[in-house]
Protein backbone atom coordinates (compact mmCIF):
# COMPACT_ATOMS: atom_id res chain seq x y z
CA UNK A 1 0.00 0.00 0.00
CA UNK A 2 2.85 2.40 0.88
CA UNK A 3 4.51 1.69 -2.47
CA UNK A 4 1.18 2.36 -4.18
CA UNK A 5 0.84 5.75 -2.44
CA UNK A 6 4.48 6.65 -3.10
CA UNK A 7 4.08 5.80 -6.81
CA UNK A 8 1.01 7.99 -7.05
CA UNK A 9 2.74 10.84 -5.19
CA UNK A 10 5.66 10.73 -7.59
CA UNK A 11 3.25 10.92 -10.52
CA UNK A 12 1.85 14.12 -9.03
CA UNK A 13 5.11 16.06 -9.38
CA UNK A 14 5.06 16.51 -13.19
CA UNK A 15 1.30 17.07 -13.07
CA UNK A 16 1.63 19.89 -10.54
CA UNK A 17 4.47 21.43 -12.53
CA UNK A 18 2.29 21.37 -15.64
CA UNK A 19 -0.59 23.01 -13.74
CA UNK A 20 1.64 25.76 -12.38
CA UNK A 21 3.12 26.36 -15.85
CA UNK A 22 -0.33 26.57 -17.42
CA UNK A 23 -1.51 28.98 -14.73
CA UNK A 24 1.54 31.13 -15.37
CA UNK A 25 0.96 31.01 -19.14
CA UNK A 26 -2.69 32.02 -18.76
CA UNK A 27 -1.88 35.11 -16.73
CA UNK A 28 0.99 35.97 -19.06
CA UNK A 29 -1.34 35.63 -22.04
CA UNK A 30 -3.75 38.13 -20.50
CA UNK A 31 -4.33 41.07 -22.90
CA UNK A 32 -3.69 43.58 -20.09
CA UNK A 33 -0.20 44.62 -19.16
CA UNK A 34 0.24 43.54 -15.52
CA UNK A 35 2.33 46.62 -14.79
CA UNK A 36 -0.39 48.90 -16.10
CA UNK A 37 -3.03 46.94 -14.18
CA UNK A 38 -1.01 47.21 -10.97
CA UNK A 39 -0.86 50.98 -11.43
CA UNK A 40 -4.50 51.45 -12.37
CA UNK A 41 -5.88 49.50 -9.39
CA UNK A 42 -3.90 51.82 -7.12
CA UNK A 43 -5.24 54.91 -8.92
CA UNK A 44 -1.82 55.84 -10.37
CA UNK A 45 -1.80 57.33 -13.84
CA UNK A 46 0.09 54.86 -16.03
CA UNK A 47 2.60 57.04 -17.88
CA UNK A 48 5.22 55.18 -19.99
CA UNK A 49 7.96 55.98 -17.48
CA UNK A 50 5.99 54.74 -14.48
CA UNK A 51 4.91 51.64 -16.39
CA UNK A 52 8.52 50.87 -17.28
CA UNK A 53 9.61 51.34 -13.69
CA UNK A 54 6.81 49.07 -12.42
CA UNK A 55 7.71 46.44 -15.02
CA UNK A 56 11.23 46.41 -13.65
CA UNK A 57 9.96 46.23 -10.06
CA UNK A 58 7.68 43.31 -10.89
CA UNK A 59 10.37 41.58 -12.94
CA UNK A 60 8.22 41.73 -16.08
CA UNK A 61 11.15 42.91 -18.19
CA UNK A 62 12.82 39.52 -17.80
CA UNK A 63 12.29 36.60 -20.26
CA UNK A 64 9.17 34.45 -19.78
CA UNK A 65 10.87 31.24 -18.59
CA UNK A 66 13.14 33.12 -16.24
CA UNK A 67 10.09 34.75 -14.68
CA UNK A 68 8.33 31.37 -14.43
CA UNK A 69 11.31 29.71 -12.75
CA UNK A 70 11.69 32.62 -10.34
CA UNK A 71 7.97 32.45 -9.50
CA UNK A 72 8.13 28.65 -9.11
CA UNK A 73 11.17 28.86 -6.83
CA UNK A 74 9.43 31.37 -4.60
CA UNK A 75 6.14 29.45 -4.71
CA UNK A 76 7.93 26.33 -3.48
CA UNK A 77 9.04 28.38 -0.48
CA UNK A 78 5.47 29.56 0.13
CA UNK A 79 5.85 32.98 -1.50
CA UNK A 80 3.10 33.38 -4.12
CA UNK A 81 3.78 37.05 -4.78
CA UNK A 82 2.09 40.23 -3.56
CA UNK A 83 -1.45 41.34 -4.28
CA UNK A 84 -1.66 44.38 -6.59
CA UNK A 85 -4.59 45.70 -4.58
CA UNK A 86 -3.89 45.05 -0.93
CA UNK A 87 -0.10 44.88 -1.24
CA UNK A 88 -0.20 41.95 1.14
CA UNK A 89 1.38 38.55 0.40
CA UNK A 90 -0.97 36.42 -1.71
CA UNK A 91 -0.24 33.35 0.41
CA UNK A 92 -1.49 35.19 3.48
CA UNK A 93 -4.61 36.35 1.64
CA UNK A 94 -5.37 32.80 0.55
CA UNK A 95 -4.60 31.39 4.01
CA UNK A 96 -7.07 33.87 5.48
CA UNK A 97 -9.90 32.92 3.12
CA UNK A 98 -9.20 29.20 2.77
CA UNK A 99 -10.36 27.84 6.17
CA UNK A 100 -13.89 29.18 5.87
CA UNK A 101 -14.27 27.85 2.30
CA UNK A 102 -12.72 24.52 3.29
CA UNK A 103 -15.07 24.24 6.25
CA UNK A 104 -18.06 25.09 4.05
CA UNK A 105 -17.03 22.52 1.42
CA UNK A 106 -16.49 19.85 4.10
CA UNK A 107 -19.92 20.47 5.64
CA UNK A 108 -21.47 20.40 2.15
CA UNK A 109 -19.73 17.07 1.47
CA UNK A 110 -21.09 15.68 4.72
CA UNK A 111 -24.55 16.80 3.67
CA UNK A 112 -24.09 15.15 0.26
CA UNK A 113 -22.99 11.84 1.81
CA UNK A 114 -25.24 11.99 4.86
CA UNK A 115 -28.36 12.58 2.79
CA UNK A 116 -27.32 11.03 -0.54
CA UNK A 117 -26.36 7.56 0.76
CA UNK A 118 -29.58 7.00 2.77
CA UNK A 119 -31.63 8.33 -0.16
CA UNK A 120 -29.88 5.91 -2.54
CA UNK A 121 -30.49 3.04 -0.12
CA UNK A 122 -34.18 3.92 0.15
CA UNK A 123 -34.43 4.11 -3.66
CA UNK A 124 -32.68 0.74 -4.01
CA UNK A 125 -34.70 -1.08 -1.35
CA UNK A 126 -38.00 0.34 -2.63
CA UNK A 127 -37.06 0.25 -6.31
CA UNK A 128 -39.96 1.17 -8.58
CA UNK A 129 -42.27 1.91 -5.64
CA UNK A 130 -43.66 5.17 -4.33
CA UNK A 131 -40.71 6.00 -2.04
CA UNK A 132 -38.22 5.49 -4.89
CA UNK A 133 -40.25 7.64 -7.27
CA UNK A 134 -40.76 10.40 -4.68
CA UNK A 135 -37.11 10.58 -3.63
CA UNK A 136 -35.95 10.64 -7.23
CA UNK A 137 -38.50 13.34 -8.12
CA UNK A 138 -37.34 15.52 -5.21
CA UNK A 139 -33.73 14.98 -6.15
CA UNK A 140 -34.44 15.86 -9.75
CA UNK A 141 -36.13 19.03 -8.57
CA UNK A 142 -33.09 19.87 -6.43
CA UNK A 143 -30.70 19.27 -9.30
CA UNK A 144 -32.77 21.38 -11.68
CA UNK A 145 -32.90 24.37 -9.31
CA UNK A 146 -30.13 26.90 -9.97
CA UNK A 147 -27.88 27.39 -6.93
CA UNK A 148 -28.56 31.13 -6.60
CA UNK A 149 -32.31 30.54 -6.71
CA UNK A 150 -32.16 27.73 -4.15
CA UNK A 151 -30.01 29.94 -1.90
CA UNK A 152 -32.48 32.82 -2.11
CA UNK A 153 -35.41 30.48 -1.41
CA UNK A 154 -33.64 29.05 1.63
CA UNK A 155 -32.92 32.55 2.96
CA UNK A 156 -36.53 33.61 2.40
CA UNK A 157 -37.96 30.53 4.11
CA UNK A 158 -35.55 29.75 6.95
CA UNK A 159 -34.04 33.16 7.71
CA UNK A 160 -36.72 35.72 6.81
CA UNK A 161 -40.00 33.84 7.15
CA UNK A 162 -39.27 31.33 9.92
CA UNK A 163 -36.39 33.31 11.43
CA UNK A 164 -34.58 30.10 12.36
CA UNK A 165 -31.18 30.66 10.78
CA UNK A 166 -28.95 33.66 9.96
CA UNK A 167 -29.23 35.17 6.49
CA UNK A 168 -25.48 35.22 5.96
CA UNK A 169 -22.00 35.72 7.31
CA UNK A 170 -19.93 33.36 9.38
CA UNK A 171 -21.23 33.54 12.90
CA UNK A 172 -21.24 30.16 14.57
CA UNK A 173 -22.29 26.69 13.53
CA UNK A 174 -25.84 27.62 12.51
CA UNK A 175 -24.54 29.91 9.77
CA UNK A 176 -23.13 26.85 7.97
CA UNK A 177 -26.51 25.18 7.46
CA UNK A 178 -28.02 27.24 4.64
CA UNK A 179 -24.85 27.76 2.55
CA UNK A 180 -23.82 24.11 2.95
CA UNK A 181 -27.26 22.84 1.91
CA UNK A 182 -27.31 25.21 -1.07
CA UNK A 183 -23.84 24.10 -2.12
CA UNK A 184 -24.70 20.42 -1.67
CA UNK A 185 -27.96 20.46 -3.61
CA UNK A 186 -26.65 19.79 -7.16
CA UNK A 187 -24.13 17.15 -5.99
CA UNK A 188 -26.75 15.46 -3.84
CA UNK A 189 -28.75 14.54 -6.92
CA UNK A 190 -25.65 13.21 -8.70
CA UNK A 191 -24.59 11.00 -5.80
CA UNK A 192 -28.00 9.58 -5.05
CA UNK A 193 -28.50 8.58 -8.67
CA UNK A 194 -24.94 7.28 -9.03
CA UNK A 195 -25.12 5.14 -5.91
CA UNK A 196 -28.63 3.91 -6.69
CA UNK A 197 -27.53 2.80 -10.17
CA UNK A 198 -24.42 1.16 -8.69
CA UNK A 199 -26.46 -0.68 -6.07
CA UNK A 200 -28.95 -1.94 -8.63
CA UNK A 201 -26.07 -3.28 -10.75
CA UNK A 202 -24.35 -4.85 -7.74
CA UNK A 203 -27.63 -6.39 -6.62
CA UNK A 204 -27.57 -8.52 -9.79
CA UNK A 205 -24.15 -9.97 -9.09
CA UNK A 206 -23.52 -13.61 -8.29
CA UNK A 207 -22.25 -13.06 -4.77
CA UNK A 208 -25.54 -11.42 -3.83
CA UNK A 209 -27.50 -14.39 -5.18
CA UNK A 210 -25.17 -16.77 -3.33
CA UNK A 211 -25.53 -14.83 -0.07
CA UNK A 212 -29.30 -14.90 -0.43
CA UNK A 213 -29.23 -18.61 -1.26
CA UNK A 214 -27.32 -19.25 1.99
CA UNK A 215 -29.91 -17.34 3.97
CA UNK A 216 -27.81 -14.36 4.99
CA UNK A 217 -29.72 -11.57 6.68
CA UNK A 218 -31.07 -8.82 4.39
CA UNK A 219 -29.11 -6.21 6.36
CA UNK A 220 -25.82 -8.05 5.87
CA UNK A 221 -26.55 -8.38 2.14
CA UNK A 222 -27.47 -4.70 1.92
CA UNK A 223 -24.17 -3.75 3.54
CA UNK A 224 -22.31 -5.93 1.05
CA UNK A 225 -24.14 -4.24 -1.81
CA UNK A 226 -23.44 -0.73 -0.50
CA UNK A 227 -19.76 -1.47 0.07
CA UNK A 228 -19.38 -2.91 -3.42
CA UNK A 229 -21.19 0.04 -4.99
CA UNK A 230 -19.05 2.74 -3.38
CA UNK A 231 -16.20 2.56 -5.92
CA UNK A 232 -17.79 4.88 -8.45
CA UNK A 233 -18.98 7.18 -5.67
CA UNK A 234 -15.48 7.46 -4.24
CA UNK A 235 -14.04 8.21 -7.67
CA UNK A 236 -16.66 10.90 -8.23
CA UNK A 237 -16.03 12.33 -4.77
CA UNK A 238 -12.42 12.95 -5.76
CA UNK A 239 -13.73 15.44 -8.31
CA UNK A 240 -16.63 16.80 -6.30
CA UNK A 241 -14.68 17.94 -3.25
CA UNK A 242 -12.45 20.34 -5.17
CA UNK A 243 -15.44 21.34 -7.30
CA UNK A 244 -17.26 22.29 -4.11
CA UNK A 245 -14.20 24.31 -3.07
CA UNK A 246 -13.87 26.02 -6.41
CA UNK A 247 -17.59 26.45 -6.96
CA UNK A 248 -18.44 28.31 -3.79
CA UNK A 249 -18.46 31.70 -5.51
CA UNK A 250 -22.24 31.99 -5.98
CA UNK A 251 -23.00 30.65 -2.53
CA UNK A 252 -20.39 32.87 -0.91
CA UNK A 253 -21.84 35.92 -2.63
CA UNK A 254 -25.44 35.08 -1.64
CA UNK A 255 -24.59 34.30 1.97
CA UNK A 256 -21.82 36.94 2.37
CA UNK A 257 -19.40 34.14 3.19
CA UNK A 258 -15.80 35.34 3.64
CA UNK A 259 -14.12 32.66 1.54
CA UNK A 260 -11.91 31.91 -1.44
CA UNK A 261 -14.67 32.32 -4.01
CA UNK A 262 -15.25 35.94 -3.11
CA UNK A 263 -11.51 36.60 -2.92
CA UNK A 264 -11.06 35.19 -6.40
CA UNK A 265 -13.96 37.10 -7.93
CA UNK A 266 -12.74 40.34 -6.37
CA UNK A 267 -9.30 39.58 -7.80
CA UNK A 268 -10.80 38.96 -11.25
CA UNK A 269 -12.69 42.28 -11.19
CA UNK A 270 -9.53 44.09 -10.05
CA UNK A 271 -7.31 42.08 -12.42
CA UNK A 272 -5.18 41.18 -9.43
CA UNK A 273 -3.10 38.71 -11.43
CA UNK A 274 -0.91 37.26 -8.63
CA UNK A 275 -4.04 36.30 -6.66
CA UNK A 276 -5.74 34.77 -9.71
CA UNK A 277 -2.62 32.81 -10.60
CA UNK A 278 -2.22 31.49 -7.05
CA UNK A 279 -5.93 30.61 -6.90
CA UNK A 280 -5.70 28.57 -10.13
CA UNK A 281 -2.64 26.68 -8.86
CA UNK A 282 -4.27 26.07 -5.49
CA UNK A 283 -7.43 24.68 -7.09
CA UNK A 284 -5.33 22.48 -9.40
CA UNK A 285 -3.49 21.22 -6.33
CA UNK A 286 -6.78 20.44 -4.61
CA UNK A 287 -8.09 18.52 -7.64
CA UNK A 288 -4.93 16.45 -7.84
CA UNK A 289 -4.68 15.78 -4.10
CA UNK A 290 -8.33 14.88 -3.60
CA UNK A 291 -8.17 12.53 -6.57
CA UNK A 292 -5.14 10.86 -5.05
CA UNK A 293 -6.87 10.67 -1.69
CA UNK A 294 -9.93 9.03 -3.20
CA UNK A 295 -7.78 6.66 -5.24
CA UNK A 296 -6.08 5.54 -2.02
CA UNK A 297 -9.46 5.25 -0.30
CA UNK A 298 -10.71 3.14 -3.24
CA UNK A 299 -7.67 0.90 -3.00
CA UNK A 300 -8.22 0.50 0.73
CA UNK A 301 -11.80 -0.60 0.10
CA UNK A 302 -10.99 -2.92 -2.81
CA UNK A 303 -8.03 -5.28 -2.30
CA UNK A 304 -7.84 -6.01 -6.04
CA UNK A 305 -6.79 -2.42 -6.78
CA UNK A 306 -3.92 -2.28 -4.32
CA UNK A 307 -2.64 -5.83 -4.81
CA UNK A 308 -3.45 -6.54 -1.17
CA UNK A 309 -3.82 -10.07 0.12
CA UNK A 310 -1.22 -12.73 0.63
CA UNK A 311 -0.76 -13.50 -3.08
CA UNK A 312 -0.54 -9.79 -3.82
CA UNK A 313 2.09 -9.28 -1.14
CA UNK A 314 4.18 -12.00 -2.67
CA UNK A 315 3.92 -10.28 -6.01
CA UNK A 316 2.03 -13.13 -7.56
CA UNK A 317 -0.99 -13.00 -9.78
CA UNK A 318 -3.96 -15.17 -9.10
CA UNK A 319 -4.64 -17.96 -8.68
CA UNK A 320 -2.17 -19.02 -6.05
CA UNK A 321 -3.18 -22.63 -6.04
CA UNK A 322 -0.39 -24.44 -4.37
CA UNK A 323 -0.26 -23.82 -0.65
CA UNK A 324 -3.74 -23.96 0.81
CA UNK A 325 -4.70 -26.95 -1.28
CA UNK A 326 -4.44 -30.53 -0.14
CA UNK A 327 -4.91 -32.83 -3.09
CA UNK A 328 -8.26 -34.57 -3.02
CA UNK A 329 -6.88 -37.54 -4.91
CA UNK A 330 -5.43 -38.96 -1.72
CA UNK A 331 -8.82 -38.67 -0.15
CA UNK A 332 -10.66 -40.53 -2.92
Amino acid sequence: MYAFILRRLLCLVPLLLAISFLAFCLTAASPSDPAEVALRVNDITPTPEVIEKTRQELGLDRPFFERYLAWLGKALQGDLGTSFVTHRPVARELARALPSTLALACVATLVVLGVGIPCAIVCFVREGRLADILVRALIFLGAATPTFWAGLLFIWLFAVHLNLLPTGGLEGASSFILPACTLALPSLATYTRLLRAGMLATGQQDFVLYARAQGRSPLAILLQIVRNSLQSTLAALGMTLPKLLAGTFVVECIFAWPGLGRLCVTAIFNRDLPVIQAYVVLMGLFFVLFNLFMEVAGALVDPRLSGRGSAGRKGKGRPDKSRPDTSMEDRA
Binding site: Q205, D206, F207, L209, Y210, A211, R212, A213, Q214, G215, R216, S217, P218, A220, Q224, R227, N228, V301, D302, P303, R304, R308, G309, S310, A311, G312, R318, P319, D320, K321, R323, P324, D325, T326, S327, M328, E329, R331, A332
Partner: protein, 280 residues
Amino acid sequence: MTQAIAPQNKAVGNTSLLEARSICVRERISGRLLVNNVSLAIEAGSCLGIVGESGSGKSLLCRALLGLLPKGLAASGTVLFEGRDVLSLSERERRALRGAGISFVAQQAMTAYDPLLTLGRQITALFRDRLRLGRNEAHDLACTTLARVGLEAQVLDRYPHELSGGQMQRCMIATSLGLGSRLVIADEPTTALDAKSQYEVLLALKTLVRERGTALILVSHDLGAVQMLAEHVLVLNGGYCVESGLAWQVFNAPRHKVTRALVRTRADLSARFAHHGGTA
Protein backbone atom coordinates in the same frame (compact mmCIF):
# COMPACT_ATOMS: atom_id res chain seq x y z
CA MET B 1 -46.66 -31.19 -23.75
CA THR B 2 -44.50 -33.62 -21.89
CA GLN B 3 -45.63 -34.58 -18.46
CA ALA B 4 -42.51 -34.84 -16.37
CA ILE B 5 -42.04 -38.04 -14.48
CA ALA B 6 -40.45 -38.08 -11.09
CA PRO B 7 -37.17 -39.94 -11.24
CA GLN B 8 -37.60 -43.36 -9.76
CA ASN B 9 -41.10 -43.66 -8.40
CA LYS B 10 -39.85 -44.72 -4.99
CA ALA B 11 -38.57 -41.19 -4.52
CA VAL B 12 -42.05 -39.75 -4.72
CA GLY B 13 -43.96 -40.09 -1.53
CA ASN B 14 -43.71 -39.33 2.11
CA THR B 15 -40.03 -40.30 2.37
CA SER B 16 -38.87 -37.61 -0.06
CA LEU B 17 -36.77 -34.80 1.37
CA LEU B 18 -37.81 -32.58 -1.50
CA GLU B 19 -40.68 -33.13 -3.85
CA ALA B 20 -41.49 -30.70 -6.61
CA ARG B 21 -44.74 -31.10 -8.50
CA SER B 22 -45.65 -29.45 -11.79
CA ILE B 23 -43.11 -26.64 -11.54
CA CYS B 24 -43.64 -23.94 -14.13
CA VAL B 25 -41.55 -20.80 -14.53
CA ARG B 26 -42.96 -18.06 -16.69
CA GLU B 27 -42.20 -14.47 -17.62
CA ARG B 28 -44.58 -12.21 -15.76
CA ILE B 29 -45.17 -9.80 -18.64
CA SER B 30 -45.30 -12.04 -21.69
CA GLY B 31 -46.50 -15.16 -19.90
CA ARG B 32 -43.95 -17.21 -21.85
CA LEU B 33 -43.19 -20.53 -20.18
CA LEU B 34 -39.49 -21.15 -19.55
CA VAL B 35 -39.88 -24.26 -17.41
CA ASN B 36 -42.97 -26.28 -18.11
CA ASN B 37 -44.62 -28.70 -15.72
CA VAL B 38 -41.51 -30.37 -14.34
CA SER B 39 -41.76 -32.70 -11.35
CA LEU B 40 -38.96 -34.27 -9.37
CA ALA B 41 -38.26 -35.83 -6.01
CA ILE B 42 -35.16 -36.60 -4.01
CA GLU B 43 -34.43 -38.49 -0.82
CA ALA B 44 -31.84 -37.72 1.84
CA GLY B 45 -28.39 -39.10 0.98
CA SER B 46 -29.15 -39.48 -2.72
CA CYS B 47 -28.13 -37.53 -5.80
CA LEU B 48 -30.31 -36.41 -8.65
CA GLY B 49 -28.65 -35.24 -11.85
CA ILE B 50 -30.31 -32.68 -14.08
CA VAL B 51 -28.85 -32.59 -17.57
CA GLY B 52 -29.73 -30.74 -20.73
CA GLU B 53 -28.40 -28.33 -23.29
CA SER B 54 -27.77 -24.65 -22.54
CA GLY B 55 -31.05 -22.78 -22.24
CA SER B 56 -33.05 -25.90 -21.38
CA GLY B 57 -34.16 -24.39 -18.05
CA LYS B 58 -31.87 -26.25 -15.64
CA SER B 59 -30.66 -23.19 -13.71
CA LEU B 60 -34.13 -21.62 -13.63
CA LEU B 61 -35.55 -24.84 -12.21
CA CYS B 62 -32.90 -24.76 -9.45
CA ARG B 63 -33.64 -21.14 -8.63
CA ALA B 64 -37.36 -21.93 -8.55
CA LEU B 65 -36.65 -24.69 -6.01
CA LEU B 66 -34.76 -22.15 -3.89
CA GLY B 67 -37.46 -19.53 -4.32
CA LEU B 68 -34.86 -17.18 -5.80
CA LEU B 69 -36.03 -16.46 -9.32
CA PRO B 70 -34.82 -13.28 -11.05
CA LYS B 71 -37.17 -10.31 -11.15
CA GLY B 72 -39.74 -10.61 -13.90
CA LEU B 73 -40.12 -14.37 -13.55
CA ALA B 74 -42.69 -16.25 -11.50
CA ALA B 75 -42.87 -19.89 -10.42
CA SER B 76 -45.98 -21.99 -9.91
CA GLY B 77 -46.50 -25.52 -8.70
CA THR B 78 -45.55 -27.12 -5.42
CA VAL B 79 -42.07 -27.47 -3.92
CA LEU B 80 -42.38 -29.53 -0.76
CA PHE B 81 -39.23 -29.50 1.36
CA GLU B 82 -39.68 -31.65 4.44
CA GLY B 83 -43.38 -31.26 3.95
CA ARG B 84 -43.41 -27.42 3.71
CA ASP B 85 -44.26 -25.72 0.45
CA VAL B 86 -41.32 -23.44 -0.33
CA LEU B 87 -43.23 -21.39 -2.89
CA SER B 88 -46.02 -20.48 -0.49
CA LEU B 89 -43.71 -19.49 2.39
CA SER B 90 -43.03 -15.86 3.24
CA GLU B 91 -39.59 -14.46 2.36
CA ARG B 92 -38.60 -14.57 6.05
CA GLU B 93 -39.55 -18.26 6.28
CA ARG B 94 -37.72 -19.06 3.08
CA ARG B 95 -34.63 -17.32 4.39
CA ALA B 96 -34.74 -19.46 7.51
CA LEU B 97 -34.94 -22.53 5.29
CA ARG B 98 -32.02 -21.57 3.08
CA GLY B 99 -28.52 -22.48 4.16
CA ALA B 100 -29.25 -25.11 6.79
CA GLY B 101 -32.16 -26.59 4.83
CA ILE B 102 -31.43 -26.01 1.17
CA SER B 103 -28.00 -24.77 0.19
CA PHE B 104 -26.59 -23.69 -3.13
CA VAL B 105 -23.29 -24.17 -4.95
CA ALA B 106 -23.14 -21.53 -7.66
CA GLN B 107 -21.87 -21.99 -11.19
CA GLN B 108 -19.67 -18.89 -11.22
CA ALA B 109 -17.29 -19.75 -8.42
CA MET B 110 -15.00 -16.76 -8.93
CA THR B 111 -17.83 -14.29 -8.41
CA ALA B 112 -19.79 -16.16 -5.76
CA TYR B 113 -18.07 -14.42 -2.86
CA ASP B 114 -17.82 -10.73 -2.03
CA PRO B 115 -14.58 -9.55 -3.69
CA LEU B 116 -13.87 -6.99 -0.97
CA LEU B 117 -13.67 -9.37 1.98
CA THR B 118 -11.50 -12.35 2.81
CA LEU B 119 -13.16 -15.74 2.60
CA GLY B 120 -12.63 -16.15 6.33
CA ARG B 121 -14.69 -13.10 7.14
CA GLN B 122 -17.46 -14.17 4.79
CA ILE B 123 -17.67 -17.81 5.79
CA THR B 124 -17.42 -17.17 9.52
CA ALA B 125 -19.97 -14.32 9.27
CA LEU B 126 -22.34 -16.72 7.53
CA PHE B 127 -21.83 -19.40 10.20
CA ARG B 128 -22.30 -16.86 12.99
CA ASP B 129 -25.40 -15.48 11.32
CA ARG B 130 -27.05 -18.81 10.49
CA LEU B 131 -25.81 -21.09 13.26
CA ARG B 132 -25.64 -18.53 16.09
CA LEU B 133 -22.00 -19.35 16.80
CA GLY B 134 -19.32 -17.28 18.50
CA ARG B 135 -16.38 -15.89 16.53
CA ASN B 136 -13.94 -18.63 17.54
CA GLU B 137 -16.45 -21.43 17.11
CA ALA B 138 -17.33 -20.18 13.63
CA HIS B 139 -13.64 -19.99 12.72
CA ASP B 140 -12.99 -23.51 14.01
CA LEU B 141 -15.97 -24.84 12.08
CA ALA B 142 -14.73 -23.12 8.92
CA CYS B 143 -11.27 -24.70 9.33
CA THR B 144 -12.77 -28.14 9.93
CA THR B 145 -15.08 -28.04 6.94
CA LEU B 146 -12.38 -26.67 4.64
CA ALA B 147 -10.16 -29.59 5.66
CA ARG B 148 -12.98 -31.95 4.71
CA VAL B 149 -12.88 -30.71 1.12
CA GLY B 150 -9.08 -30.72 0.95
CA LEU B 151 -8.36 -27.06 1.64
CA GLU B 152 -6.10 -25.68 4.32
CA ALA B 153 -7.12 -23.05 6.84
CA GLN B 154 -4.89 -20.50 5.05
CA VAL B 155 -7.69 -20.13 2.51
CA LEU B 156 -9.59 -18.14 5.13
CA ASP B 157 -7.02 -15.33 4.90
CA ARG B 158 -7.33 -15.09 1.14
CA TYR B 159 -9.48 -12.82 -0.97
CA PRO B 160 -11.61 -14.49 -3.66
CA HIS B 161 -9.37 -13.19 -6.46
CA GLU B 162 -6.43 -15.05 -4.94
CA LEU B 163 -7.94 -18.50 -5.35
CA SER B 164 -8.66 -20.71 -8.33
CA GLY B 165 -12.14 -21.65 -9.54
CA GLY B 166 -11.80 -25.17 -8.16
CA GLN B 167 -10.76 -23.91 -4.75
CA MET B 168 -13.67 -21.51 -4.68
CA GLN B 169 -16.12 -24.27 -5.61
CA ARG B 170 -14.76 -26.36 -2.76
CA CYS B 171 -15.14 -23.37 -0.41
CA MET B 172 -18.83 -23.28 -1.33
CA ILE B 173 -19.13 -27.01 -0.70
CA ALA B 174 -17.33 -26.55 2.65
CA THR B 175 -19.81 -23.81 3.49
CA SER B 176 -22.71 -26.16 2.80
CA LEU B 177 -20.99 -28.80 4.95
CA GLY B 178 -20.56 -26.31 7.78
CA LEU B 179 -24.17 -25.20 7.59
CA GLY B 180 -25.24 -28.84 7.76
CA SER B 181 -27.44 -28.38 4.69
CA ARG B 182 -29.87 -31.23 4.17
CA LEU B 183 -30.13 -30.54 0.44
CA VAL B 184 -27.47 -28.98 -1.78
CA ILE B 185 -28.28 -27.69 -5.24
CA ALA B 186 -25.08 -27.54 -7.29
CA ASP B 187 -25.61 -25.59 -10.49
CA GLU B 188 -22.96 -26.68 -12.98
CA PRO B 189 -20.21 -26.72 -10.35
CA THR B 190 -17.59 -28.15 -12.69
CA THR B 191 -18.15 -25.86 -15.67
CA ALA B 192 -15.06 -23.87 -16.67
CA LEU B 193 -12.76 -25.90 -14.44
CA ASP B 194 -9.73 -27.88 -15.54
CA ALA B 195 -9.94 -31.68 -15.33
CA LYS B 196 -8.09 -31.93 -12.01
CA SER B 197 -10.24 -29.26 -10.38
CA GLN B 198 -13.38 -30.91 -11.76
CA TYR B 199 -12.37 -34.19 -10.21
CA GLU B 200 -11.63 -32.56 -6.86
CA VAL B 201 -14.94 -30.72 -6.81
CA LEU B 202 -16.82 -33.93 -7.61
CA LEU B 203 -14.98 -35.73 -4.82
CA ALA B 204 -15.92 -32.94 -2.43
CA LEU B 205 -19.57 -33.29 -3.47
CA LYS B 206 -19.30 -37.04 -2.98
CA THR B 207 -18.03 -36.40 0.56
CA LEU B 208 -21.05 -34.23 1.15
CA VAL B 209 -23.48 -36.96 0.09
CA ARG B 210 -21.73 -39.96 1.64
CA GLU B 211 -20.52 -38.57 4.96
CA ARG B 212 -23.37 -36.24 5.83
CA GLY B 213 -26.23 -37.94 4.06
CA THR B 214 -26.92 -34.70 2.25
CA ALA B 215 -29.23 -34.87 -0.74
CA LEU B 216 -27.63 -33.43 -3.86
CA ILE B 217 -29.19 -32.00 -7.00
CA LEU B 218 -26.37 -31.83 -9.52
CA VAL B 219 -26.99 -29.73 -12.60
CA SER B 220 -24.45 -30.26 -15.31
CA HIS B 221 -23.67 -30.39 -19.00
CA ASP B 222 -21.09 -32.96 -18.11
CA LEU B 223 -22.66 -36.39 -18.36
CA GLY B 224 -19.50 -37.94 -16.91
CA ALA B 225 -19.88 -35.90 -13.73
CA VAL B 226 -23.53 -36.86 -13.44
CA GLN B 227 -22.72 -40.53 -14.04
CA MET B 228 -20.12 -40.38 -11.29
CA LEU B 229 -22.50 -39.06 -8.62
CA ALA B 230 -26.16 -39.36 -9.54
CA GLU B 231 -28.41 -42.36 -9.05
CA HIS B 232 -31.30 -40.70 -10.83
CA VAL B 233 -31.32 -38.38 -13.81
CA LEU B 234 -33.74 -35.90 -15.24
CA VAL B 235 -33.22 -34.63 -18.80
CA LEU B 236 -34.53 -31.18 -19.69
CA ASN B 237 -35.06 -29.74 -23.13
CA GLY B 238 -36.69 -26.41 -23.93
CA GLY B 239 -38.10 -26.19 -20.40
CA TYR B 240 -39.70 -29.64 -20.56
CA CYS B 241 -38.61 -32.79 -18.81
CA VAL B 242 -38.15 -35.20 -21.71
CA GLU B 243 -36.80 -38.18 -19.83
CA SER B 244 -36.10 -39.31 -16.29
CA GLY B 245 -35.14 -42.43 -14.44
CA LEU B 246 -32.21 -44.33 -13.04
CA ALA B 247 -28.93 -42.90 -14.26
CA TRP B 248 -27.54 -46.13 -15.67
CA GLN B 249 -30.80 -46.81 -17.52
CA VAL B 250 -31.03 -43.32 -19.00
CA PHE B 251 -27.41 -43.30 -20.13
CA ASN B 252 -27.32 -46.88 -21.41
CA ALA B 253 -30.73 -47.02 -23.04
CA PRO B 254 -31.85 -43.43 -23.73
CA ARG B 255 -35.43 -43.26 -24.99
CA HIS B 256 -35.74 -39.63 -26.06
CA LYS B 257 -33.83 -38.26 -29.05
CA VAL B 258 -32.39 -35.38 -26.97
CA THR B 259 -30.96 -37.81 -24.44
CA ARG B 260 -29.64 -39.96 -27.26
CA ALA B 261 -27.98 -36.91 -28.79
CA LEU B 262 -26.39 -35.94 -25.47
CA VAL B 263 -25.10 -39.47 -24.87
CA ARG B 264 -23.88 -39.83 -28.47
CA THR B 265 -22.09 -36.46 -28.38
CA ARG B 266 -20.27 -37.43 -25.21
CA ALA B 267 -19.34 -40.83 -26.68
CA ASP B 268 -18.07 -39.19 -29.90
CA LEU B 269 -15.99 -36.67 -27.95
CA SER B 270 -14.52 -39.38 -25.75
CA ALA B 271 -13.67 -41.49 -28.80
CA ARG B 272 -12.08 -38.51 -30.55
CA PHE B 273 -9.93 -37.66 -27.54
CA ALA B 274 -8.98 -41.33 -27.12
CA HIS B 275 -8.03 -41.45 -30.81
CA HIS B 276 -5.91 -38.30 -30.62
CA GLY B 277 -4.37 -39.50 -27.39
CA GLY B 278 -3.48 -42.80 -29.05
CA THR B 279 -1.89 -41.25 -32.12
CA ALA B 280 -0.02 -38.54 -30.25
